[in-house]
Symmetry: C2
């Protein structure tokens, strides 16, 4: 059985970058969008379809007509993607059985609860930090701060909803994680160093 | 201005022990009950009175007749102890001005929000860990597991109420802390090592 580190994260906090660097430092496999490709191969489903179903799916692109409330979004998502989640759960467990890996999002902390997992959550208490990180991305140079804030809230709302739907638990609640790190205080490299200290205990 | 590490903690999680060991490792001052004595000297108030007013005060000993609800407990506490909190805030800021210190509880993360503080919260996701720690304390050998669970819930409820009252924010909400550590996963010494990694960034 492999060593697994799951990383939940607020949008814009740098959790993905933390995970990527951590995987490099530890020579662990890294799964984020890589899971989508693996799932596409295994299920025969289109990778775009899978991405839309996954918690990675940007909430900006979610059709508003589907429903204006949190609840209806939940219900419709769950009707659409049950079989896909079954396949994803199976894949996550196979990974945990055979290799050391860093896994981003996907409610992996809950799905792999029977494995020996270090459950990390990366957030940023200073929202300016998230806005700055977001604004630095080339493709979003046109967005106003207000639009970025709205986008961050929307993606996090989608992640919270996804997490709640799969686990029945509250997203970003410290009691679900072993280590919660504020990148706006310690930075991405700092978060990596802190997680390494926990891994090397 | 000193380096300050504040440690909020769930009852039974070992947060106090983490803080004590951390202060020793770093050769920082350590303030827990030490604050009570300092306050007694400065205010001329009785240290027992101060302890009853502080968030350290065990909720078991709180007179039920004061009020059966959370709200009335809050109200009465705040009426009784405003001047004491003013003195405590002043003392905490004096400490932060002049020395490196580890400070346990007392909403110090909020009170010292304008200082450069590493805000830590220590919790234990496995409640058995907290029960075991509690049961190991000599004086509590007679208590049943059910009684211990009740006591843990009661003390944490009191701490949450105190924190909410002083800061207007939710206790044990990760967004208020830079680092949240689950001692039931990493142990007390592990938590110390993780915080040291954050301090030494």
């Amino acid at each position: 059985m492999g060593k697994i580190i799951t990383i939940g994260r607020e949008f814009g906090s740098g959790g993905r970058e933390v995970g990527k660097k951590l995987a490099e430092e530890l020579s662990f496999a890294y799964y984020d969008k890589e899971l989508v490709e693996k799932l596409a191969t295994e299920t025969g489903l289109d990778s775009n379809y899978i991405e839309r179903q996954s918690e990675q799916y940007s909430a900006t692109a979610f059709p508003y007509v589907v429903g204006r409330t949190f609840l209806s979004l939940n219900t419709i998502t769950s009707q659409m993607s049950t079989s896909l989640h079954v396949a994803q759960n199976k894949l996550l467990k196979e990974i945990a059985q055979k290799e050391n890996a860093v896994i981003i999002g996907r409610c992996a902390d809950y799905i792999l609860r029977d494995f020996d997992v270090l459950k990390v959550f990366v957030h940023a208490s200073d929202s300016d930090y998230k806005i700055k990180r977001y604004a630095e991305r080339e493709e979003d140079k046109e967005k106003t701060v207000k639009e970025i804030e709205k986008e961050i809230r929307r993606v996090d709302k989608h992640r919270a909803s996804y997490y709640q739907q799969i686990s029945g638990q509250k997203w970003a609640d410290m009691s679900n994680y072993n280590l919660c790190i504020d990148t706006s205080k310690v930075g991405v490299d700092g978060a990596v160093a802190i997680i390494l200290a926990a891994v090397n205990l």
